[in-house]
């Protein structure tokens, strides 16, 4: 064996142990009727688990909710993050201070954020509805129509700073000359942003979008802490659904199949996003 193969061998072995084995095993589980409380009776089901979940209304609803959540939350974070980054870049004094303050939400563990907003948004006990009421606004943040959107707002509160951080780094790394050229040519700020800043920032935006979107697919804590997927199934997201199926109902076969469908969908989305951003 040549040196270079020997060098990657430990890592390959490690990855095989911690990634490939669980992956293959869960693929095996997804083809069986595998219940943790009936391990003496594990039966081969072929693709039945997959066929079943595609006709299963709760699964499809959870998937739809998740896709809406990801699309909504990530675009909100993109717009807010980019706007804040552009503003912050111009800030001369207190820039570091402002940066530190704006980044703070990222360092709170999501479950704590969930619990925090559960009480802050609670209609009877919460501070936000209280002040909204004083302004004459009665908003029910967790009714069936608004609950998913409220969770997006919470996600945006916590993760916009991540976008901000990425974009700020991206903006500061941009070369000065194209901006000077645009200035000489008499471009308006909007045109400069649209034709100079944005195209040059594209790789950073792509990376930030992918990282955030993959992360947003994993939303769990806010749902767990606040709505438990309710009212009804309005905020039932896919990870919460998989958790329930696998670890509360112990139907591991179905849960594994759901997880693989989730992986497939995520991969397809990443590929689409990647090629869309690369095209121009």
């Amino acid at each position: 064996m040549s040196l270079r193969y020997r060098l990657i061998l430990p890592l390959t072995l490690l990855l095989a142990a911690v990634m490939a084995y669980p992956l293959v095993f869960s693929a095996w589980i997804s083809l069986h009727d595998y219940r943790l409380t009936r391990l003496y009776d594990v039966r081969f089901r072929g693709l039945d688990n997959y066929l079943f979940i595609f006709g299963d209304a709760p699964f499809l609803k959870a998937m739809t909710n998740t896709l809406m959540f990801v699309a909504g939350a990530v675009s909100l974070e993109l717009v807010l993050g980019l706007g804040l980054a552009l503003l912050l870049q111009r800030l001369v004094r207190f820039q570091n201070f402002a940066r530190a303050v704006l980044l703070a939400p990222m360092f709170i563990t999501p479950i704590a954020v969930g619990l925090m907003f559960r009480f802050m948004l609670s209609s009877e006990l919460g501070v936000i509805p209280h002040y909204l009421r004083l302004m004459g606004l009665g908003v029910d943040w967790f009714n069936a129509d608004l609950a998913l959107f409220s969770l997006m707002l919470i996600d945006a509160w916590q993760w916009t700073p991540f976008m901000l951080l990425m974009f700020l780094a991206g903006l500061e790394a941009l070369p000065r000359s194209p901006f000077e050229a645009a200035k000489v040519d008499g471009a308006s700020p909007w045109m400069t942003f649209w034709h100079v800043t944005l195209p040059m920032l594209r790789p950073v935006i792509l990376v930030a979008l992918i990282i955030r979107a993959l992360d947003a697919f994993k939303v769990f804590e806010y749902v767990y802490a606040i709505t438990r997927g309710g009212p009804g199934d309005a905020t039932e997201v896919i990870l919460f659904h998989i958790y329930k199926t696998g670890f509360r109902f112990f139907r591991m076969g179905e849960a594994a199949a759901m997880a693989f469908v989730l992986i497939a969908i995520t991969l397809v989305l990443v590929v689409i996003l990647y090629s869309a951003m690369q095209r121009k």
Partner: protein, 413 residues
């Protein structure tokens, strides 16, 4: 390569040594998984006496919130050697865990125990611990639901505390004003709405299954119970409380914003505690049977895993903590009773929360039925609890939701 090998070998050996050491000392060590509730603090304190009387047994509690328990018990039960020598089991899990072969039948232990008085456990509670004629769980504490009311408001307005569901609904509507509510409800999806609504279902004469085991959760009684529940939520419950669980409802009642709630009977002592969460309202709360009389029963049970190493030591602890004498001490200290002799003990009335509370509780327990039974009770509660919530939030009509609940429950069978 070599270094990696050496490293993993060392790790393996250290691990093996650790397993051997813990294996050697297990005979004298009981590891108990338990839910972090007020009753646990009492059990923990009492256990000091057990350890003093049994110096060869060391008891360690692994206390955790409800949500963390189910999968830990499962993992311990699937492992070749158990993490837990004693577990507590929630009533919906009883059939599931015993059928899966996780639990030790306790009948022989019970028979051999002198002065244990197993018949003294309240029958409705003890029955949940019996699956296919074998006893797998000994009652630990009950969380049967009762009606908790602000007695001062009822007295002041000269209103009788309602005993039928119809009266309850009209009374709580009558009590509701702009900033005060007749009923603090807990319509949160899943367990919480199920715990509350099941009392309404009973009051209308409904059930989940008929005597032949057919699902009847979408029959007329259920429809009426849910119609009334939604009407009450819309007219007498705090606004925008669709995701409230028992803790939010408790806060609304204790802060004087609501007149009644259907909740665990042992919330009453919490509410009436001096210097407690209710402030000046302490002492003004009273417990009644739920409207209609029949209550949803929650209860926890002590069990010994099938793979526990030292079942005799485990039983020694379980039989001690549930023995008539220790049960009495536990209840006096504030624990929720499950023994008839304790509930009727004058000593308990005096040192505990008064005769009134215990006799009402006995009435509740004598006519109570478990939240859900069967090998898939946990899933059933979630399915039905989701559909109920969908109906209350207006995503589905009552009939649609209950039909969906019925077909969902059928699928799990």
């Amino acid at each position: 390569m070599n270094r990696l090998c050496k490293w993993s070998l060392t790790t393996l050996m250290t691990g093996a040594a650790a397993v051997m050491i813990s294996g050697a000392s297990l005979a004298a060590e009981l590891n108990i998984i338990i839910e972090e509730v007020p009753d646990y603090d009492i059990v923990k304190k009492l256990t000091e006496k057990f350890e003093a009387a049994n110096p060869d047994i060391k008891v360690t509690f692994d206390a955790m919130p409800f949500d963390a328990m189910r999968d830990k018990i499962l993992t311990s039960s699937l492992a070749p050697s158990a993490t837990y020598d004693v577990i507590i089991i929630d009533n919906p899990w009883m059939e599931e865990f015993s059928r899966a072969g996780y639990l030790t039948p306790l009948d022989d232990f019970i028979k051999a125990e002198d002065g244990y008085k197993y018949d003294d456990f309240i029958k409705a509670v003890a029955d949940v611990g019996v699956v296919d004629g074998k006893t797998y769980g000994v009652p630990y504490y009950n969380y049967a639901l009762g009606l908790i009311v602000r007695q001062d408001i009822f007295d002041e307005k000269g209103i009788e505390v309602p005993t039928t569901l119809e009266d309850y609904v009209s009374v709580v509507k009558e009590l509701t004003t702009d900033d005060f509510y007749g009923a603090a409800m807990q319509p949160q999806k899943g367990y919480k709405i199920m715990e509350e609504w099941k009392n309404w279902l009973y009051a209308e004469g409904g059930e989940l299954f008929d005597e032949n085991g057919e699902v009847i959760i979408n029959n007329d009684a259920a429809v009426k119970a849910l119609d009334m529940y939604i009407d009450t939520y819309n007219t007498a419950a705090p606004k925008n409380s669709l995701n409230w669980g028992f803790d939010e409802a408790l806060r609304a009642v204790s802060s004087g914003k609501a007149a009644t709630m259907l909740s665990y009977n042992w919330m009453l002592p919490t509410l009436n505690a001096k210097d407690g969460m209710s402030g000046d309202l302490a002492g003004k709360f009273k417990l009644y049977e739920v409207p209609g009389g029949k209550a949803a029963l929650g209860a926890w049970f002590w069990g010994i895993p099938a793979n526990a190493e030292d079942k005799d030591a485990a039983w020694k602890f379980v039989s001690w903590i549930t023995s008539p004498e220790v049960a009495k001490e536990r209840v006096i200290a504030g624990g929720a009773p499950v023994r008839t002799s304790v509930i009727n003990d004058k000593d308990v009335w005096e040192k505990g929360f008064g005769e009134d509370y215990y006799t009402t509780l006995q009435g509740i327990l004598e006519d109570a039925a478990p939240l859900a039974t069967g090998p898939h009770a946990e899933e059933l509660i979630e399915i039905v609890g989701t559909e109920l919530s969908a109906a209350v939030s207006g995503q589905k009509t009552v009939k649609q939701a209950l039909d969906a609940a019925a077909s969902g429950v059928k699928r799990t069978q």
